[in-house]
Point group: C3
Chain length 441, copies 3
């Protein structure tokens, strides 16, 4: 491929930014889940990246971008040796590994607080080594060379940086897993209203949202595969859509909940970003704001629907990635400037093929995931046992308690037994020390 060093470094740099999105997801998900599970959430986000990187490098890249078998899957380039011969290819593989990591990790948040760690890692193998690259082949194979070979891309399906390929994919995977797993204990009490779980650390979750936004500049900006003049427009659209999603979700949430809702603000940004991703290179600035804002509102709506359906998505991954992802994929036909899309399709044909891509992704991803997880579930239960879920996955999966968790537990026992002599056992050094600030009332 005839690429300059500028192109190569730009893609490499953007791959780095997409990598950082892993940190963003980790912060967001560990911040909005409960303290007794936050170590497990963090570990899943770290370990899944290592696993998906190795598996996608071994198998996934070949299935997604190898020589095509009739537009259905690739069959060359297994375990590619990224070894100086073709710097652009090397950069491209790194970039795609990061994208796979993003698609894979979306699940972590949805199933948080109840899925077992090793089962989760098994699913990562399935995603990175099979379900993600196959659909990816349909939509993206050959695109970087301007020679689409996947059956879907050849119809004219447009998904610039992955509203469907990455985000809806992650949403469908999450939906299948959640239907098998069921809701967290106590989330939908039999005789009461749904209960929201308190996030352990909202500033950390907000940091995660900012990091994701930052990484998204590389996610969308690098999807040009070239260091060209489109990039500032793409970044501007990414910026405006995120802001649009934030403000729309904040205002709509304020109207519905009568307060400035934290979760909707954080997820509003992400929904705006997911929505603009499919056509970030084809929108006017105003269109980007609108697409993002509607993305934010779609997310709020999906959130309500999921709760009514008693599907328990711990971080609203489905409203953000599936809801706004579907919207964003349709928005390409509605708001994309035709000359930029350059598919030669009429408005209705473009809308139709966008719908086709959405349906194809849904059927493929949901079915494969549902079947595979059902089988796995027989042999290796996906869900933590009730006592393990109750005590929290930090302790049950990693033997990792914290001073705070111990404190909560000791206080709880105190309140039941009236025995104040129960102590937080892990910080003996504190026992003999007088607090510099403690006063007697």
């Amino acid at each position: 491929m005839n690429k300059s060093i500028d192109d190569i470094l730009w893609i490499t740099l953007c791959a780095g930014l997409v990598f950082l999105m892993q940190a963003g997801f980790m912060c967001l998900e560990a911040g909005v889940t409960r303290r007794k599970n936050n170590i497990n959430v963090a570990m899943k986000n770290l370990a899944d990246f290592g696993v998906s990187t190795l598996i996608f490098w071994l198998f996934g890249f070949a299935l997604m971008f190898g020589a095509s078998a009739g537009g259905w899957f690739g069959r060359s380039d297994f375990a590619p040796n990224l070894d100086f011969q073709d710097p652009f290819r090397d950069a491209f593989v790194v970039f795609q590994i990061m994208f796979c990591g993003t698609a894979a990790t979306i699940l972590a948040g949805a199933v948080a607080e109840r899925m077992r760690f090793h089962s989760y890692l098994l699913i990562m193998v399935l995603i990175a080594g099979f379900s993600y690259p196959i659909f990816g082949h349909w939509a993206w194979a050959g695109l970087a060379q301007n020679e689409p070979v996947g059956w879907l891309a050849r119809q004219g399906f447009v998904d610039f940086a992955g509203s469907t390929v990455v985000h809806s994919f992650g949403g469908w995977t999450s939906l299948a897993a959640l239907l098998i797993l069921g809701p967290r204990m106590g989330r939908f009490p039999k005789d009461g209203l749904p209960r929201r779980m308190q996030g352990a650390d909202i500033p950390l979750a907000t940091l995660g949202t900012f990091i994701l936004w930052f990484g998204w500049f590389g996610f969308n900006g690098g999807s040009t595969f070239a260091a060209n003049g489109q990039i500032p427009t793409i970044i501007a659209n990414t910026l405006l859509a995120g802001s649009g999603g934030l403000v729309a979700a904040l205002l709509l949430g304020w109207r519905i909940r009568k307060t400035a809702a934290v979760d909707l603000s954080l997820n509003g940004v992400l929904a705006g970003l997911v929505a603009v991703t499919a056509g970030a290179n084809a929108y006017s600035s105003l269109a980007a704001v609108i697409v993002g804002a509607i993305g934010g509102m779609v997310m709020v709506g999906c959130d309500i629907v999921l709760e009514r359906l008693r599907i328990d998505d711990a971080v609203s991954a489905i409203p953000v990635h599936l809801g706004a992802g579907i919207w964003g994929t349709l928005a390409v036909a509605l708001f994309g400037i035709p000359e930029r899309l350059n598919t030669g399709l009429s408005f209705w044909n473009q809308l139709g093929v966008q719908g086709l891509g959405i349906v194809a992704c849904g059927i493929w991803t949901f079915c494969v995931t549902y079947v595979a997880l059902s089988i796995v579930n027989r042999f290796s239960p996906l869900r933590a046992s009730p006592p393990d879920e109750e005590i929290g996955l930090n302790v049950s999966e990693h033997g990792a308690t914290t001073d705070l968790l111990d404190l909560f537990m000791v206080m709880d026992r105190q309140s039941k037994t009236g025995d104040l002599s129960l102590r937080v056992p892990v910080e003996p050094s504190l026992r003999s020390v007088r607090s510099p600030g403690a006063t007697t009332a």
Copy 2:
């Protein structure tokens, strides 16, 4: 404008780094304020960016960089369509949106723990859509084209990356708001010494400082508007000044407080960075260290003065951004290499015009903000009610409690009633579980 793709990508990249400063401010401010307000602080930092982005895009950019009305304000380019036609212009707008976001968010920290959320967002509209771009026009309009048109710039005022335009501006805004708002409850007891509030999460605040420093490389490095050989020097000066500010504030604070003060160390870095910003492209390395170090000491001094004046700045935004900002603007005349400044002014004339810019910024920003906020305050009180402030803005503004906040409250009730059966209500799962580590003393 005759700009290469290298120039365009460099500005775009630096805009991304400036974006990340939003995350830095959020971490810093949520870390040094109290736990009962930290969610509110985080939400303000997220929401203000969305609002300021949309408003600056709609109105602010035009007022700041549109065709000039006599050097006083711009009047074209409202809601610019950032659409491939002029990649440099698109990148420039994105970069300026990020700068506006930085100037606007400085207020969030100063007024933390007592300003109502929706009033805060209203002020964001004022800043991003009016007060910031007007002063910005005076100092920066036309500079990227080497054709200054603002009345202040034409006098020879030099503010390379915004010690005054961004940082002092934010400081003046904060000062006006604080005089209207008044101090937090309990900060200046009638019959005692001023009381410092404990930060909820100092490691998070330290992370914020590092992120700000990192982002500042883009803040100063991108203000060249070109990918040129000045950049390493600018980055070096930014690095050395931050280090100088840190070490100077740490040592001076050690002498004053007899301990290695956390807040002064964090703010020392920022004061050094604010100080070097006005002339980062015009200093020798040694000058950069000195300018940063004096910036750190100015910050320490302002901190003491503010406390004596009983002005309660929750994160020392005024000492950092206004104090060090004024110093940094003067330092351009004192330490800047004349050929680099290239204004043709004598030493005293340069010093005079730097002073003029400082005064102009102060009068404009303080007066506009004070008047506007006074008016707003009549119709929509800026300050949370005493009970809301007492319970904390997390709960009162967002309905967002946390396990820890509940714990503190339950313990407090226990200590008043002696009733141990009060329980932390939100984690029922813990009730029936024996802590793996709990022991009986």
Copy 3:
């Protein structure tokens, strides 16, 4: 030097990423140590960077890269004026300052929770101004000009981005300091098993690991000193080795500890990264995975050995940086593609000189550090007093308590005295407020 603006900006950008590693170390170390010391850990990580930056700029750079005195140390370019004359030189100095900061800060984690703050800063002066640049001269002086002048480099010693020069160096420094300091109170009880201290905030530590990984792309990617086609390969190797280290350490740890160990997963990534660093530009993709995976396993092994030797390394800095660093330096001879190394040495000669470098680094660094710290220790004790260590360095070194620390202390007193009227004193605002969620059981 004949360098393009692309080269210069690439190095500058990578320097920024290496800077961000400081934030990564801070998060990691503050996250895995105890709450009562986490502010001190954060402050050490911030302050050491300021000190090492100024000292390395003043003295270290000259000793490391100045005109060589017979290959043993440099003796020109003290306090270099980074002033536009030679942009590549300026960028190179900035990059090297960041590297020194990395090497220096490794110590902070190892000695956490017991070394006094000002003694720690004194050691930073020693490292940045003497021990690091001297060894660095031996291995790296002249390399950026392809004219190695250090005695070790001239033998053919290869350490691309610093498995030995940076990481093993930091490990040897840590080992010497730990032998003088001794273990934390309670870590090795006389009559019991070693006790692991609980990390205060594992999600923060995980964030730190991600940030370090991100920064490492610049650490290795910038060590080309040119914007060339090797970079994607180097990034790919860095990515694959980190993943290999993670997965290998996770699996090995699972086998040994029967659980998915948090510390080993975090450190597995870092060990993989340390290991690949010496030859990141000379490995095939498969070799990178293997080198990283073995690095992870070496780290697990060293961790066990250290515990048996009763050496108390608070964050496993020695297993990660020294253990994996030694392995990585040897791996260059075992797995490096000879044409890439381009030393002209036979396999056994290359292995020998790699070993020579390891031994030279060990003798120099350990001895200098041990002697210097022993002397310092006489006049200014390195170790906090037992009561200071007990109460925690947050309070004893910075007068910085937190609501949580106070809470633990009050609870502890309650449990000893049975007096519930002891209150957390610092949040009086909570006293009169009814928790919105508190219920009576």
